[in-house]
Each structure stands twice: as structure tokens, then as C-alpha cells.
């Protein structure tokens, strides 16, 4: 690390070292290095840039609003900065380090060509308000990507600007609301299954809808009959249901076999079908959602199309639309005229084809993700993408069938899983639960699967291998997973203390929430 300034930071070593070895004076353990906060090593006088000194008496035109009080932003020189963040990075797990089977998150390999292409100055160094004649290539990227997305989904239109999955959901629900409103009544309810991702109900509520539950069958799918009954509720008059939001493949990892039938039923009552496309990776290139009656679906470019997750974002969530919803798509969008020239439509127009619900974000969407996703698609092609879906599904089923004998697999009999395998912690001994197993996997050198989601399974463990994992790697994971599971079934107490080898032992989340400390402050006294 860069050693501490006078904030007095010291490596925490009060508690005896877990290994029983002589603790080091630095708190470091060879290549596992402790690192203070920048505020504990930097100073407000230090800087890692070379800029002209400021003359405090220079004339200015700031209208008397000069910032005179200290701001408190510390700086570091470049060597210190690089080292600080490099050391921090080494306390992180990433796909580049190993298997990262976070269910519902599609942690596939992030190709480095994508990174390189996104950094071409012709893409990275253009301003969103550049005169359009000077950014035809950028508009063409958007147009080409739109074409891929429409063709892969079999849908006639796509909105490119949503910034992530949840923003895409909002885009879809707003279009649905706009369509209903245009037809005279926005309706009140959006139906969402209990197994849905939290963003689904949150989005529907954000768009002013009441959220009602879609019942599920014991096999882990939508209960079509119960759904039909709910749609019909209210009897003869117009249904109160504006839309259903269904994830397909769903969050239990299953394909909603009756999707078409559901869609028909929803359409029959004048509702719309929103499909959460977060799990598109299972079917990309093999199944077109357009063939299943979908009206709107977001696509997480940061899942299916390999743009990196970056420790939390950014993502990109374009939304494909059916004919019915296409006119309501948000601004801005790109159009190609007869001469092949591209234009950005930024203003509302009055024709029936363009009853846009408005603007969702300042500019055109996540261009940096578009270039990466297009690079990815061109690399794979139609054949490669089909193989992606097949290998992703094959890997997941292989895991399901390699673990179902020792782990509770609630939907193991519901048919093949799609891109992810779901397990529960039903039979664990000694008060152990999913969390303990997850922490045990950390010691084994794996990132744990998604835990406690979906909510419909006790101690849910959602394992999504993706297609970029080799069989050998998955086999190693299975061996380790079985070993830790055996310990969990046997009630092995030592698992309660795991992880042992990570940069930190278990962290106290309750304490964090009880008295939140969200920013650094000068130590008192």
C-alpha cells in the first residue's frame, strides 16, 4: 500500500491471526495486501496531475461564487494511485479469476476485442450532440445493433436508449401504459410472479401500477389456469390488468412452456405481455421471443451480449417491441433515410406511428456498450449465438444432474433446466444454510452462485455457468461443490466460520445497517 498519512490508519490485527502464524507488522500476508482508504494516505495538497498553479488573485468571471472553503478531496500521485487501486483490485473476484456462476447474472467471459473496439477514438471520443453528419458511423452502429436485436428476437422495433435492465423494464411498462392511455384507460394492475426479480414489481410500481401476484405451479412455472382466472376477474367489463411481466426462461431456470397460451390470454383481455429478457442467453439464436407473443422485452447487453459488469455496471437494456407498442417507443431514435443517411429523431412528431412516450435519458443510450455488443455479435454470428445458447443450457443441465443426488433440487423433475440450475438448502445439518455453503465455496476459489433468489425456494442457490466455462472447469466446481455440500449436510461447524482465506472473514452486515457509516470522516479526538 501507500502508507498512512496522519489520519492514523493502522492495519487491524487486534484479533489473533486465523492461521496462527506470526502476524506481520503490516497486516499483509505476502501477496494479500492490506490497503487503507485514500483519505488515510492522501492529502489535499498532493496531486497526480501537472497543471498550472492557480493565482488566487487572478481576475475571474465567476460572479462572486468562488469556492473558498476547503473541499477535503485528497489527492495521490500517479504511482500511489495506480498502486492503491491495483491493491484494491486484488481483493476482488472476477470472471477473469475463475468460475462465477451467479444465477440470473450471466457472468460470461468479456472478450477483450470488445474493449479494444469501444476505445477507438471514432467511438469513444465523440460528443452526443455532434452534428449528425459527423457521426454517421456511430448512428450506423446503433442501426446495425438494432437490426441484430430485432432479427434475433423476431420483433419489429427496438428502443435503444434504456440504460440497464431495470430501465428497460420501465421503458416497456411506460410504452404499455402509453398504449393503454392512448386507448382511453391506463388500467391499474400489472401481474408479476413471486419468483420475479425485484426490479419487475419495483418498475411496475414506479410506473404507477398496482402489483399483483401471478400464481405458480408446483413445477415452477406460471399457473396458466389461475392466471386466466385472474385476467377474467371483474367479469364482463374491461380487465383491470394492463400487463403481465413474465421472465422467460424464468428465474427458476425453466422455460415457460405455455408462454404462447399465456400471451394469447393476455391479449384476449386487451393486455400486454412484458417479457423480462434477462435470461435471453438460454435461447439466443435458437428461439425468437416474437414467435411467443411477446409485446415488449428488454435485453441486458451486459448479460447475453458480454459487456462487462464492471463491479455493478454500467449495463444497457434495449427493449424490443411488437407492432402494437412500437409507436410508443421513447425518444431519441435513429432512422435511416432512402439515401442511406442516418438521422437521430429527437423531437416528438404527430403522426400515428410515432406517439412516443417521451425521453428516458439525456442522450442516445449506452453507446460504449453498443460497440461492445455489436463486436460480440459479429464475432459469434447466427451460428455462434445458437451455440452459445446450447452450450449455456448444456452446462447448466450438466451441473443440475451432477448435483441433484446430494442437493435438494426442487424443480429437477420439471424437465430440463435452461441456463441455470436451482437448488435449496433443505437438508443441511447443524443449523447450516445456503450462506455457509456459499462462504465455503469462496475458500475453494469460486465465486458463489446467487443465493436466496428466487424467493420461492428455501435457501435458493441459483447456479448459472454460462457457455464460456469449460467442462473441466465445471467438473472441478462440481467436485468442490459436492465436498462443501457434504460438509453442510453433515453439519460441519467449521463452515460457519468460512471463509477462512479471503481478504476478510465474514462481515457484519447488521452492524453496517444499524449505524450506517457511508462516507469517510476524520477520526475524532
Amino acid at each position: 500500500m501507500n502508507a498512512p498519512n496522519k489520519s492514523g490508519w493502522k492495519p487491524a490485527m487486534e484479533v489473533a491471526d486465523a492461521t496462527g502464524e506470526t502476524p506481520t507488522t503490516t497486516g499483509n500476508r505476502a501477496l494479500m495486501l492490506e490497503e487503507p482508504l485514500i483519505f488515510e494516505i492522501g492529502s489535499t495538497d498532493q496531486t497526480g496531475v501537472d497543471l498550472p498553479e492557480v493565482d488566487p488573485n487572478a481576475a475571474n468571471r465567476l460572479g462572486g461564487f468562488e469556492r473558498t472553503d476547503p473541499i477535503g478531496l485528497v489527492g495521490l500521485t500517479e504511482p500511489e494511485t495506480v498502486r492503491h487501486y491495483t491493491r484494491l483490485s486484488r481483493q476482488n473476484y472476477g470472471i477473469d479469476l475463475g468460475f462465477f456462476p451467479l444465477g440470473s447474472c450471466t457472468m460470461k467471459h468479456n472478450p477483450r476485442l470488445n474493449e479494444k473496439m469501444a476505445r477507438l477514438p471514432g467511438f469513444a471520443d465523440i460528443h452526443p450532440l455532434t452534428p449528425q453528419s459527423s457521426v454517421q458511423g456511430a448512428l450506423e452502429v446503433i442501426d446495425q445493433l438494432a437490426t441484430w436485436l430485432k432479427t434475433l428476437t423476431g420483433m419489429p422495433a427496438v428502443a435503444m436508449s434504456p440504460k440497464a435492465g431495470a430501465h428497460g423494464e420501465l421503458c416497456g411498462i411506460l410504452a404499455i401504459r402509453a398504449a393503454h392511455t392512448a386507448a382511453g384507460n391506463p388500467r391499474e394492475v400489472v401481474l408479476v410472479p413471486e419468483s420475479a426479480h425485484g426490479t419487475n414489481p419495483a418498475t411496475a410500481a414506479f410506473a404507477g401500477y398496482k402489483v399483483d401476484n401471478i400464481p405458480a405451479t408446483p413445477e415452477g412455472r406460471v399457473d396458466v389456469e389461475a392466471l386466466k382466472a385472474r385476467l377474467a376477474k371483474g367479469g364482463e367489463g374491461e380487465s383491470d390488468v394492463a400487463a403481465v411481466m413474465i421472465t422467460n426462461p424464468n428465474t427458476c431456470g425453466l422455460f415457460e412452456k405455455d408462454f404462447r397460451e399465456i400471451a394469447d390470454a393476455v391479449h384476449a383481455i386487451g393486455g400486454y405481455v412484458y417479457c423480462d429478457g434477462a435470461n435471453f442467453n438460454a435461447i439466443v439464436g435458437r428461439v425468437r421471443p416474437g414467435d411467443l407473443g411477446v409485446d415488449a422485452m428488454h435485453i441486458n447487453l451486459h448479460k447475453t451480449f458480454s459487456t462487462p459488469h464492471g463491479g455493478g455496471g454500467p449495463g444497457s437494456g434495449p427493449v424490443v417491441f411488437s407492432e402494437a407498442l412500437a409507436p410508443f417507443a421513447p425518444l431519441p431514435y435513429v432512422e435511416k433515410d432512402a439515401s442511406g443517411e442516418f438521422t437521430i429523431v429527437e423531437e416528438e412528431t404527430t403522426d400515428a406511428d410515432h406517439q412516443t412516450f417521451g425521453r428516458m435519458t439525456a442522450f442516445h443510450g449506452q453507446m460504449g456498450m453498443f460497440t461492445r455488443a455489436l463486436t460480440y455479435m459479429l464475432s459469434h454470428g447466427a451460428d455462434g449465438l445458437k451455440q452459445v445458447a446450447e452450450d449455456a443450457v448444456l452446462n447448466a443441465n450438466y451441473i443440475l444432474r451432477s448435483l441433484e443426488d446430494i442437493l435438494h433440487a426442487p424443480y429437477a423433475d420439471s424437465g430440463p433446466c435452461m441456463h441455470e440450475a436451482l437448488f435449496g438448502d433443505k437438508d443441511f445439518g447443524g443449523g447450516l444454510s445456503t450462506l455457509d455453503l456459499a462462504k465455503g465455496l469462496i475458500d475453494e476459489g469460486f465465486h458463489p452462485m446467487t443465493v436466496y433468489f428466487p424467493l420461492v425456494v428455501h435457501g435458493a442457490m441459483l447456479v448459472e455457468p454460462t457457455e464460456t466455462e469449460s467442462k473441466a472447469s465445471i467438473d472441478q466446481f462440481i467436485t468442490a461443490f459436492r465436498s462443501v455440500t457434504e460438509r453442510a449436510l453433515a453439519g460441519d461447524e467449521s463452515l460457519k466460520q468460512a471463509p477462512y482465506f479471503a481478504p476478510r472473514r465474514r462481515l457484519d452486515e447488521t452492524a453496517a445497517a444499524r449505524k450506517p457509516k457511508l462516507v469517510w470522516s476524520e477520526p475524532e479526538g
Binding site: 487491524a12 482508504l37 496531486t47 497526480g48 497543471l51 468571471r61 468562488e66 472553503d69 489527492g75 500517479e78 487501486y85 484494491l88 483490485s89 481483493q91 473476484y93 462465477f100 474493449e115 467511438f123 469513444a124 471520443d125 460528443h127 458511423g137 432479427t151 434475433l152 440504460k163 440497464a164 430501465h167 425485484g198 419495483a202 439464436g285 428461439v287 425468437r288 411467443l292 459488469h309 464492471g310 463491479g311 455493478g312 454500467p314 444497457s316 425518444l331 417521451g358 428516458m360 435519458t361 449506452q366 453507446m367 454470428g381 451455440q387 443450457v393 424437465g415 464460456t468 472447469s473 476478510r504 472473514r505 465474514r506 453496517a512 450506517p516 457509516k517 457511508l518 462516507v519 469517510w520
Partner: protein, 458 residues
């Protein structure tokens, strides 16, 4: 294929283990109607890196990069010099290929970085707490309005006329469905914003008043006056900042009484990227508002051995716990952009930030004077930071911007583009100057503008 490790042997071994005869058996649940007989048609087949690179470079070369022309655009997206080490840092695989830090024991890198980021943003904005990022400034602006309605339990938001029009549009888009009442206006072309008009629109139903600072015309104004007026009515002051570098030179919104400060963080670390991904910043002045904030928050705690560590916290506000009652539906945010911001800010430090701001302002003053000396051009602003509005004689500014582009100069943003159809703004050109602007660039813009303005009307 280069990204797919399974071999055909692997595939058949695995199918055997599964007990499936072929891959199709794993897709039996797909209804007949949606089964395809091969790869989707009308799309190309896979291609080599070399071929893809050629294709993408071909597209990139059709764009005029900001670095290849005298460049004066701003209006919510700014071109600053990003130190090379920032990109090195964000390309570390451990940052780049990590997910949201759900397993904190092996995500301390991301978490500690977020804690640093939150602290930096809070300090920059003069606030108590900042979150771990939102999508961009415009969605952060909407989230602020939504939060204000939750906090005040009122439904009306008063938007300043000189708020970025795209930001107003985003707020209006959302509000048309949620029942908020949004009062907007257009910017008045005056050397200083008229705050009295704005404050006069605040009433007892007002949840918040939203002001941009510096505003869309580059002007600066005394926010404390607006804060007082808002607070008097029990409303919150939301301040929007699109240029964080400005806050190295001018008073922070927090200092002047803003309750929620939101903005775009793209200037630091992120780059232009044709509009995205960008970085939504969100902070509150009063810590009591924390539990109404949208988005992720990173907090300090200890591990089982008593060592300091960081976790995501207060997640009962969030969609994955609170579902339809969440403070926002956001999940994926702008994590890696936050890292870029925080690394750039760490390289700057207060000293560097102040120097950077001073240099921006100095060059902007030079440019404003030089341009105002061109016949047919008037400088509107009394005060500005690095962006100012020029009033141009003759043709609409939008046409002049196109003419400039034809001459290889990216000369600014016409208000005609931002406010299509608004005649009063048609002749206004927003010019931005940063440390990247050279004296030669300023000279080129001035002479080209002079030439264009001299051209006889057609």
C-alpha cells in the same frame, strides 16, 4: 469458436451424463411454434477477430472524433483530459469482470472503492452522503424529484427554465405516469437567471424546486436565495450539476442550502462516448434523508476478526428486498464509471481539481473575449464557468453549427437543437471551453465564425 470452450467430445459426454440424446432434448419445453430449423436467417455467420476489427474500424472511421477537430461542445457532456492510468485501473480484470459486490469477503476492492467514491461525491457537492451511482445525470434528476415527493409527501415539482431540456424531458416523461405535477419553463435569454420568477412558482404543494448550476446557458446564480424560498414553503431544493469540474471553482450546492444534489459525473474519468455510459451522481445534505435515497449504498463495518471492511448496506430500500415498495427500481448502476471517476478524482485531489477548474475558466474567459470581438456575436453571460452563450446574428445557430462542421470545426451546441421550434432561442450558441482547448482552436473558431457570419444570406 474462440469464446466457446466445450468441444464436441465434451458435449456428447455431458449429454450422456444428463441422459439426453441430443441438445434438442434440452429444448423440449420450447413450443413447436417457436422452434427453428437452424441458425437464424438474415444474419452473418461467425467471423474472425481480424474481420470484426476491420468492420468496426470502418464504422469508427466514419465519425469525426472530438480530438480531430477544434471542439467546443458541452451542454451536459464535457471533454476533459483523462489520465492514462485511469484506463489502466478500470481494465483490471478484477474490477472489470466483477459483479455487484454481493459477496463482500471477495469484493472488498469494489466496495472500498465505492466508499471512497461516495465520500468524494459528498465532499464535492457539499453534502453529507452520496450513493454508489445512478445511470446518468438525467435519471438522477428524476430520482431526486421522486425522492422529494416521498420526503415531503407532496406531488408538485417546479423545474427551472434553465435546467437542461433533456433532463426536464426525462422528469416529465416519468411524471406523466406517476401523477407528479411538473411545472416547467423555457430559459429566458438574460445575462443572469431570474430567480424571482422561479421562486414565485413555489407554493405549499411544491415538493421541490429543481435548479441547474451552472445552468444550461452556462450562468451561475445564488442558490441560497432559492433554498430559502423553498425551505420557507417546506419544499426541498434539488440542484443539478452537469459539470463536476465547475465545483473546483464555484461554491458547492450543499453550501448554498441544496437538499438533494444530483448530477452528471462523466467529466471525470469517463469520456464522451457519444452519450453513454455516463455516471449519475446523487447526494443529500442531511443524513436523515438517507433511507429515502435511491440506489446502492456502501457502508463500513467489521469482519469476524474485527478488521474493518465494507458492505452494501441499507438494502431494505432497494428493489431486491422491498420490491414494489422500493425507493427506486435501479439495479445495475454505473459501477465502472464510478471507479473511473474516483480514480481520476484521486489523481486530481483538491489541488488538481482547483487547478483544473481554474485552467478551464481561464481559457473560457480568453475564448469569450475573443469570440465576443467577432462582429455579429454578443456574449450573453455576466458570469460563467467554462461554458457560455453567444447570440449570433444572421442565420439560426443550428445552421451555423452545421456550416462549422463542414469546415471541420465542432463549434458548440446550438440551443435550436436543444429546444427545437423555440424561436427565441434560435440564435443562441452554447460554447464550451476546457483545458483541452488550445489557443489555436479558439482562433480557428473565431475566424470561421466571422467568415460564416459575413456570408451574404442566400
Amino acid at each position: 469458436m474462440r469464446y466457446l470452450p466445450l468441444t464436441d467430445t465434451d458435449r456428447s459426454d455431458m449429454l450422456a451424463k444428463i441422459g439426453a440424446g441430443s441438445i434438442d432434448d434440452l429444448f423440449v419445453d420450447v413450443p413447436e411454434i417457436a422452434r427453428l430449423d437452424g441458425p437464424i436467417r438474415d444474419l452473418p455467420m461467425h467471423a474472425s477477430e481480424m474481420a470484426v476489427e476491420r468492420h468496426m474500424k470502418g464504422l469508427a472511421n466514419k465519425n469525426l472524433a472530438a480530438g480531430d477537430a477544434p471542439f467546443f461542445l458541452g451542454a451536459g457532456a464535457y471533454r476533459h483530459h483523462v489520465p492514462a492510468s485511469v484506463d489502466t485501473i478500470i481494465q483490471r480484470g478484477e474490477f472489470l469482470t466483477a459483479y455487484t459486490p454481493y459477496q463482500p469477503e471477495i469484493a472488498q476492492g469494489t466496495l472500498q472503492m465505492l466508499f471512497e467514491f461516495q465520500t468524494q461525491v459528498a465532499k464535492l457537492y457539499g453534502c453529507a452522503v452520496a450513493n454508489a451511482s445512478l445511470y446518468d445525470g438525467s435519471t438522477a434528476c428524476w430520482e431526486a424529484v421522486a425522492m422529494a415527493t416521498r420526503v415531503t409527501k407532496r406531488k408538485k415539482a417546479v423545474l427551472s427554465g434553465s435546467l437542461h431540456p433533456h433532463y426536464s424531458e426525462v422528469v416529465k416523461t416519468m411524471a406523466q405516469f406517476t401523477g407528479e405535477e411538473i411545472a416547467t419553463a423555457q430559459p429566458a435569454i438574460t445575462p443572469e437567471p431570474n430567480l424571482d420568477t422561479l421562486t414565485s412558482r413555489i407554493d405549499d404543494d411544491t415538493a421541490c424546486v429543481v435548479v441547474q448550476y451552472p445552468d444550461i446557458l452556462g450562468r451561475l446564480s445564488d442558490l441560497s436565495q432559492v433554498a430559502d424560498a423553498a425551505h420557507e414553503k417546506g419544499a426541498l431544493l434539488v440542484v443539478v450539476n452537469t459539470e463536476p469540474v465547475a465545483l473546483g471553482a464555484v461554491k458547492s450546492p450543499g453550501e448554498m442550502g441544496a437538499d438533494i444534489v444530483v448530477g452528471e459525473g462523466q467529466s471525470l474519468g469517463v469520456g464522451l462516448q457519444f452519450g453513454g455510459p455516463y455516471l449519475g451522481l446523487f447526494a443529500v445534505r442531511d443524513p436523515k434523508h438517507v433511507r429515502q435515497m435511491p440506489g446502492r449504498l456502501c457502508g463500513e463495518t467489521v469482519d469476524a476478526e474485527g478488521k474493518r471492511g465494507f458492505v452494501l448496506t441499507l438494502s431494505t430500500r432497494e428493489q431486491h428486498i422491498r420490491r414494489e415498495k422500493a425507493t427506486s427500481n435501479i439495479c445495475t448502476n454505473s459501477g465502472l464509471c464510478a471507479l473511473a471517476f474516483t480514480a481520476h478524482m484521486t489523481l486530481l485531489g483538491e489541488k488538481g481539481l482547483r487547478q483544473l477548474a481554474a485552467e478551464n475558466h481561464r481559457l473560457a474567459c480568453v475564448a469569450a473575449d475573443r469570440l465576443a470581438a467577432v462582429p455579429g456575436i454578443k456574449l450573453l453571460n455576466n458570469a460563467f464557468f467554462n461554458e457560455f452563450t453567444l447570440m449570433l446574428d444572421g442565420k439560426p445557430a443550428r445552421d451555423i453549427v452545421r456550416d462549422l462542421a463542414d469546415r471541420g470545426v465542432l463549434g458548440g451546441v446550438s440551443l435550436g437543437r436543444l429546444y427545437p421550434g423555440v424561436e427565441a432561442l434560435e440564435h443562441a450558441l452554447l460554447v464550451t471551453v476546457t483545458e483541452m482547448t488550445t489557443p489555436e482552436d479558439i482562433e480557428t473558431l473565431s475566424t470561421e465564425l466571422e467568415a460564416i457570419l459575413k456570408e451574404p444570406a442566400q
